[in-house]
C-alpha cells in the first residue's frame, strides 16, 4: 500500500492515520482468512485434518485459530510500519471493505461451494 506524507483528510496537528489504517486493513484480512481457511478445509481432507486443533470442535478450531493468529500478526506488522505516518486511507478502506465483503460472502456455503 502506498503511503503519502500528508493526508488530505487530517489536519497537520492530528494524530497520523497509520495506526487506524493498520487496524482496519488487518481486521479485513482476518475476516477474509476465516473464509479462505474454511474453504480450504472443506475442499481438502488433508487441510481439514491439519485444522483439527481440538477434536470436539473439529476443523473449526484450526480454521479460526489460524485466521486469528494471522490477523493479529498482520496487525502488529502493519502497525509497526504505519504507526507514525499518514497513509492513503481511501485506498486502504477500499481494499479493507472489499476483503470484508468477500469474507462475508465466501463464508456463505452456496458461494463457498463454487470453489
Amino acid at each position: 500500500m502506498n503511503t503519502q506524507s500528508a493526508s488530505a483528510s487530517a489536519t497537520p496537528s492530528a494524530r497520523p492515520n497509520g495506526a487506524g489504517a493498520a487496524a482496519i486493513l488487518a481486521a479485513s484480512v482476518g475476516a477474509f482468512l476465516v473464509a479462505v481457511f474454511a474453504i480450504l478445509a472443506d475442499r481438502s481432507a488433508a487441510v481439514k485434518s491439519l485444522m483439527i486443533f481440538w477434536k470436539p470442535t473439529g476443523s473449526l478450531s484450526g480454521v479460526t485459530t489460524c485466521a486469528i493468529v494471522l490477523w493479529l500478526a498482520s496487525w502488529a506488522i502493519l502497525d509497526m510500519r504505519w504507526r507514525n505516518r499518514n497513509v492513503a486511507l481511501a485506498r486502504v478502506n477500499a481494499v479493507a471493505f472489499a476483503l470484508l465483503i468477500l469474507g462475508l460472502l465466501l463464508t456463505f456455503p452456496p458461494i463457498a461451494d463454487l470453489f
Partner: protein
C-alpha cells in the same frame, strides 16, 4: 421448571452474549455517528469518550465470549456423533437435522454459514474498539477512519445477525439438550 446443562450453556451463548451483542450494536452505531460526525461542531466530553471506550471494549469482550462459548462449549454437543444403531437422535442435533431433507438445510447452509461468519463480528468490533481507544476525539479529524469504523460495526451487526438468526432457527428444529438437569423452580402438581 428445569433446564439441562447443555440447554443452559446454549442460552448463555445465544441470549446472554449473542442477543446482547446485537442490541449493543445499534447503540454503538448511533453513538459513533453522533459523537464523531463532522456536522456536529461540539467535541465529545472526556466523560462521553470514556463511556464510549468502555462500551466498545465491553462489546468486543461480549462478541469474543459469544463465539468462544459457541465454538468450544455448545458446538461439540451439536456435532456429537451418535453410537452406531442409535435410533433416537434427540441428543445429536446435527445428525437429527441431516436425517431429514426438510431440515438438512438448517445444517448444510445455516450452521455451516453461522459457524464461520460469526467470527467476523469480534474481529470487526475489536478493530473498532481499538481505533476509538487510540484516537478518541481525534477521530473527528479523520472522517475516513470514522467511516471505516462505522462500516465495520455495520458488517459486524450483519455477521452477528446471520449467526443469531440461524442459531435460533437451528435450536428450534434440533435443540442442544442433555447433561445434568438443573431445577430452577419446583412447580405445583395439579
Amino acid at each position: 421448571m428445569e433446564i439441562t446443562v447443555r440447554s443452559f450453556w446454549t442460552l448463555i451463548h445465544g441470549m446472554g452474549f449473542g442477543a446482547l451483542y446485537l442490541m449493543a450494536c445499534s447503540g454503538a452505531l448511533v453513538e459513533l455517528y453522533r459523537r464523531y460526525s463532522t456536522h456536529n461542531p461540539a467535541l465529545p466530553t472526556e466523560r462521553d469518550e470514556k463511556f464510549l471506550r468502555t462500551y466498545l471494549v465491553a462489546m468486543a469482550a461480549i462478541a469474543w465470549l459469544a463465539v468462544l462459548t459457541g465454538a468450544y462449549i455448545v458446538y461439540p454437543w451439536y456435532r456429537a456423533v451418535p453410537p452406531p444403531g442409535t435410533a433416537n437422535l434427540a441428543a445429536f442435533p446435527q445428525r437429527l437435522l441431516l436425517a431429514s431433507p426438510t431440515t438438512s438445510g438448517w445444517h448444510a447452509i445455516g450452521m455451516e454459514w453461522k459457524e464461520h461468519v460469526a467470527w467476523i463480528a469480534p474481529i470487526s468490533i475489536t478493530m473498532a474498539a481499538s481505533v476509538v481507544l487510540q484516537y478518541g476525539r481525534n477521530l473527528k479529524e479523520h472522517p475516513q477512519l470514522r467511516a471505516a469504523v462505522l462500516g465495520f460495526v455495520w458488517i459486524s451487526l450483519v455477521a452477528a445477525g446471520v449467526a443469531g438468526f440461524f442459531g435460533a432457527m437451528i435450536n428450534k428444529s434440533a435443540p442442544v439438550e442433555g447433561g445434568t438437569v438443573i431445577q430452577i423452580v419446583q412447580g405445583e402438581q395439579k
